[in-house]
């Protein structure tokens, strides 16, 4: 038949060569087991992080959901049991939706509240759970972290600059850019925040996780004082405290960041990371220990 005629049918030939390349690539990942390359773009970072969470059978007891502000907990040592589902350009709501949809019930879920008005990115979530793409669980080449050119770029970066993750460009700037601060403050003020709607949506997620026995912890990342003390931020913070009071929920609060602790008013720079990450780690350990002792006591009483 012409369709399967290798010599005469170019489309069939291309198809055969394509399958060959896929098999060779997948085979080299499975056989040689190279170390997982660092993501080389923000999109790849988000997708590969989400895929690792979905397909990784050893999921952590603590899940952190947030925006790029919470990324710093990736780039330094963090408590061993934290899965960081902070997504660049997205918010905690997307992370919470991902955890909910994956069916995972963590012991703790930490919810960053800074950009929680960003709605759930349904397209992003749907792309992770499309039925045809369950192949990804078994075919590594289909996963975002193993994109061929990204693998090449990652290894080149390691050779040129061993400690580079490819995403810390902001953090490498020692001095805050006034122009960036102005742009970010303006963007923050112009954001369409509906406080009531946002707290209602958040409340639904919190209820879902609490019903499954998960302890919810709220986190407010430190940002520049101009943004921290902005009227909109103050109003939103008050609404959150009212709906999720400190008497009932754990809150990890740092206040405003100093001038020299962020690169653009929002993201912690190296100095900020050195200061706040150990504080965060300490708080998380304390909360986890407190709950462990409460469970132990309850168990002992039984």
């Amino acid at each position: 038949m012409f369709i399967f005629n290798f010599k005469k049918n170019i489309i069939f030939r291309l198809f055969v060569f394509l399958i060959l390349i896929i098999v060779l690539y997948e085979g080299s990942i499975v056989i040689f087991k190279p170390h997982t390359p660092n993501p080389v773009s923000y999109d790849q970072y988000n997708i590969s992080k989400a895929q690792q969470f979905i397909y990784d059978s050893t999921r952590s007891a603590i899940v952190l959901t947030g925006s790029s502000l919470s990324l710093c907990f990736d780039e330094s040592s963090r408590p061993e049991n934290i899965s960081n589902l902070s997504f660049i350009g997205l918010s905690s709501l997307t992370g919470l939706e991902l955890v909910k949809k994956s069916g995972v019930t963590p012991q703790f879920v930490i919810v960053e509240v800074n950009f929680i008005d960003r709605p759930v990115n349904k397209e992003f979530i749907d792309s992770l759970f499309k039925p045809a793409w369950t192949l990804r669980k078994y075919v590594h080449a289909l996963r975002s972290e193993w994109q061929p050119i990204s693998v090449l770029i990652s290894y080149i970066e390691e050779y040129v600059k061993p400690k580079s993750t490819g995403l810390s460009a902001m953090d490498s700037q020692p001095v805050i850019s006034k122009e960036l601060l102005r742009v970010n403050l303006e963007a923050y003020r112009n954001g369409k925040l509906d406080i009531t709607q946002t707290t209602n949506i958040l409340r639904q997620y919190i209820r879902h996780f609490e019903e499954k026995g998960t302890t919810v912890v709220f986190l407010e990342m430190p940002v520049h004082s101009l943004i921290y003390n902005d009227d909109r931020a103050v109003e939103f913070r008050s609404a959150l405290f009212k709906d999720f009071p400190a008497s009932k929920y754990h809150w990890i609060l740092f206040g405003a960041a100093a001038d020299n602790e962020t690169s653009d008013g929002l993201h912690l720079n190296a100095a900020g990371v050195n200061k706040y990450v150990p504080l965060f780690n300490g708080r998380v350990r304390a909360i986890a220990a407190k709950h462990a002792s409460v469970r132990h006591s309850e168990h002992a009483l039984k």
């Binding site: 291309l14 060569f17 060959l20 390349i21 773009s41 994109q147 990204s150 770029i153 580079s164 960036l180």
Partner: protein
């Protein structure tokens, strides 16, 4: 509807099945027109159909009129109407800003009119309308009106197909009326050139989804004020990265459009011919966006006198043509400046065109200079605010001491390699001939592999904004 969307794929399959169905073979043109309308449903289809209707009605007056003078008058009217439509939708704010310093002070009606968004593809389909009348004026209406019984109905269908044909509707290539009309006849399934179509589509999708869609994730940091915090090396890498991105995006789109058109038996003009190996600006414009160059040459530069008059007038004609060509790309001074810069380069290099020896070293130097200047000029596309372009160039000078952003530089270089390789391969092929078939097919299979496994996040084509 993007070429990279599933919706487009489903539309293509359905259209293909209906088009080559033996029962519907008499209605092939109608099938393509319906598919084109469906394709354009989300891009202000009412305006598009109105423009087609107006063009069709004016052309009917030409077709039914024996007087040559009336023919010319109607043709000029048709050209004028298309220019007015384009000017209104594209240049209303730009023109208003020339006379009114504070546009926010205008009344609600004027503000509403100025806020009407630019319809996608309008620069292309109004140009097709202009070509329709210009060609009929210069070559006679007979090249367009088919000499068959009930000719006018077929003429209307042909005009609809010419203006709406979905592969070229939104971003070209701009095909002249005479070049498409003579191709309108019954197409047969057996005549499909599968090899050529495969190569065009694979190359097109590769450039678009692998090269351009990935590069955009890095060149986004060229925007103000983000470039302020990046090292000089990073900013320089971005200039060449954006140069690769805009080529890959536009060339990719043109290749896909050409491949899809070929699937239905229509040949669109080649739009890119390895432009970054040009040794001069005149050569560059014979290789970059060729369909636009030909349009501007035939309908603007030559009617102005071309190069048939004095050297001074030739230079003026070049400046006017290229400046208007720049303005076609966008209603902003940066595009005027971009076009003017190219016009000036064309005018200045003209006396020296044949002075250089043609050895490898001189050619390499010339290619490098043209590539560098063209890439710098693309900054005016990326940063439409001219003050930001100046700040960008200042940042290159001032940020030498900042640490290099390898996380941006390396991916930008790696994703630009296919564009460089594409041009180098062409130079190699000119000297050594084609590569063995097996090697070529493995390369295409490799590109297909990367389209599946390395596509960037979907983004509309850069030239959609024009």
């Amino acid at each position: 509807m993007l070429f990279t969307s599933w919706r487009f794929f489903y539309l293509l399959i359905a259209t293909f099945i209906l088009y080559y169905n033996p029962v519907l073979k008499k209605y092939q043109v109608s099938v393509l027109i319906v598919a084109s309308v469906i394709f354009s449903l989300r891009i202000n289809v009412f305006l598009l159909l109105s423009v087609v209707l107006v063009n069709g009605i004016i052309f009917l007056f030409i077709a039914n009129n024996r007087s040559v003078l009336s023919h010319k008058r109607f043709a000029l009217l048709g050209i004028f109407v298309n220019i007015v439509i384009l000017s209104f939708y594209k240049y209303k704010s730009f023109i208003a800003s020339l006379f009114i310093s504070d546009l926010s002070s205008l009344g609600s009606t004027s503000s509403y009119i100025l806020a009407i968004p630019l319809p996608v593809g309008i620069s292309f389909y109004t140009f097709h309308g202009i070509s329709l009348f210009a060609d009929s004026m210069r070559q006679g209406k007979s090249v367009i009106v088919r000499d068959v019984p009930k000719g006018w109905k077929h003429t209307i269908l042909d005009i609809c197909l010419y203006m709406l044909f979905f592969p070229k509707l939104i971003s070209g290539p701009i095909i002249k009326a005479t070049d498409l009309f003579h191709q309108i006849k019954e197409k047969k399934f057996e005549q499909i050139d599968w090899k050529s179509i495969c190569q065009l589509l694979i190359a097109g999708y590769f450039f678009k989804t692998v090269v351009s869609d990935n590069l955009k994730d890095y060149t986004v940091w060229m925007s103000f004020p983000y470039f302020d915090t990046l090292s000089s090396s990073t900013l320089i890498a971005f200039i060449f990265g954006y140069s690769s991105q805009i080529f890959a995006d536009f060339c990719g789109y043109s290749l896909i459009a050409t491949g899809v058109a070929k699937l239905f038996g229509y040949q669109l003009p080649v739009n890119f011919n390895f432009p970054y190996i040009s040794r001069s600006f005149s050569e560059f414009w014979s290789r970059w966006h060729i369909s636009l160059s030909v349009f501007l040459r035939d309908y603007l530069y030559i009617p102005l006198g071309g190069n048939k008059i004095s050297r001074f007038r030739t230079s003026i004609n070049l400046m006017v043509t290229m400046t208007l060509g720049g303005l076609w790309h966008g209603a902003a001074w940066s595009y005027v400046l971009w076009g003017g810069a190219h016009g000036m380069a064309l005018a200045l290099e003209r006396p020296f065109r044949n002075m250089f020896a043609t050895n490898v070293i001189v050619n390499f130097f010339r290619i490098a200079v043209v590539y560098l200047l063209v890439s710098l000029a693309w900054l005016l596309f990326k940063l439409p605010d001219i003050s930001h372009v100046i700040l960008y160039l200042k940042a290159i000078k001032n940020n030498i001491s900042l640490p290099n952003n390898f996380g941006y530089i390396i991916p930008t270089i790696v994703y630009s390699v296919p564009v460089v390789g594409y041009h180098v391969y062409h130079l190699w092929r000119m000297k050594k001939g084609t590569m063995p078939r097996l090697v070529v097919e493995l390369i295409y299979a490799g590109m297909l592999f990367l389209i599946i496994f390395q596509h960037g996040s979907s983004n509309s084509f850069v030239y959609f904004q024009f």
